[in-house]
Every structure is written in structure tokens, then in C-alpha cells.
């Protein structure tokens, strides 16, 4: 089974037509890969579907805008993969999961 990073890297490569081998765990989705907000909607949809979650993009954006978090925490791909793993774990731990 591929890692969470590999799965999101594949999604980004396919969605944004970015060569897969240029997408690294340390890549910043916005600063390094040039992904804009519209493409990120598409990526979020694909990630939500693939992992059965709802990434809290609005909450994350608000935290960044309020200075409570940095974009690196959410948009460096290894960090994004970690956040996704946390969301999946939380979903699996929820009652009735």
C-alpha cells in the first residue's frame, strides 16, 4: 500500500499536470509547485474522496490568515500528508466508525 504522501503526490500530478518526479515530500504546494486556489479545490475533492475525509481547508486558511499557523504546516506535502493521517485516524476513532 502506498504512503499518504505518494497518494497525494499522485493526485497532484494527475490533477495539475505536474511531473510526478518533481513532487517531493518537502515541496510546498503553493510556493514550489505553483498550485493555485482553484487547482487546490480539485485536489481537495480528490483527497477527500480518496481518504473518506473532509479536509478543513477553511479552518486552515483562517488559522494562516490569523497568524496562528504557517502555510508550511498545511501545504508542505509531508505536513499535509501528516494532517491527512490525523484526519483519517480521527474518523476511524469516531463512534460508529
Amino acid at each position: 500500500m502506498s504512503s499518504t504522501f505518494d497518494q497525494i503526490a499522485n493526485i497532484i500530478a494527475e490533477t495539475c499536470d505536474i511531473p510526478r518526479d518533481t513532487i517531493k515530500p518537502e515541496s510546498h504546494a503553493i510556493d514550489d509547485l505553483g498550485i493555485d486556489s482553484l487547482d487546490f479545490l480539485d485536489i481537495a475533492f480528490a483527497i477527500d474522496k480518496a481518504f473518506g475525509i473532509k479536509m478543513p481547508l477553511e479552518k486552515w486558511t483562517q488559522e494562516v490568515n490569523d497568524g496562528k499557523a504557517t502555510t508550511e504546516q498545511y501545504f508542505v506535502l509531508q505536513n499535509l500528508a501528516d494532517r491527512i493521517d490525523e484526519l483519517v485516524a480521527a474518523k476511524n476513532a469516531a463512534p460508529g466508525a
Binding site: L38, L41, D42, F45, D48, K49, M55, L57, E58, K59
Partner: protein
Amino acid sequence: MDLDYFKLIDRVVDLNLDEKRITVEAQVPAAHTIFEGHFPGFPTMPGVLLTEAMAQSSGWLLLGLLKFERMPFLAIVKEAKMRGFVSPGSLLTIEAKLEHEGSGFAVTKAKGRVGKELKCSAEITFGLTPFPDPTMRVHMDAMANKIGFPLQAITND
């Protein structure tokens, strides 16, 4: 269907919030200047207008699901397929279903039919934002009344 004002949906036939789907009707005008150019001798609804009609149908569904607290704005159209010609005077029935509600966005799938014949389909993504202007919200309420949007469906739960 008021092409000049881009109000393409005439009435809501069914809104099912549990199943997250809507069915609407749109009466294509029998005559309009658009058909004089598109095309002479073979008037047919432009695909962009069919796509917009599917987007507006989806928009009404999302407004219902969001209880008119946020406005869906068209962001992405995928897999837009024009499967058959739609002639002036046709009654278009469009069904839209929620595919996914994400954080700040939603994705629908919509299909347009004339009679039983499937004419168009698409997967459509919307950004969901607070109404940018109170005038717009008032306008959407008025439009909802005009097209028979069942406002009680979003207040009775």
C-alpha cells in the same frame, strides 16, 4: 428561461434534501436572437447555455442544502457532455445531485433531459462563500419565490 437575464431555470419540480438532489424545469424559448446566429436554418441551444443551466440547477440545490446562508459560485466544470441537440421550444428537465460537500466547496453531478432523452451532463464544482452583498441575498430570495423553491423544506428541520 429568460436568456437575456441569464435566468435559465423556470421552476423547481422537486427538492429532496435527504437525498441531496433537485429536479427543475427550464422552458427553452421558441424564438430568440441567439437562435438566429446559432444556427441559421438549424436553431439549437448553445452548449455553454446548457452547461450554465446545469450549473444554475446545481446552485439551487446547494442553496437549499446551505439554507441560503452561503452562495455557490461556479468554479470548475468537468466532463461537460452535449449528448444531443436541444431545439427552441423544448422543455428541459434538469436533475442535479450533490456528489461531495467539502470545506468551502461542493461538487455536483447534473443531467439535462428533453422528455426521456438525455441531452447533457456535467460534473460541476462550486466555491461556497458568504453572500458578497445583501442585495444579492434579497434577489436570490425573490428568485426562489418566483421559481417555486420550497423554502419550507429548509426551515422545517
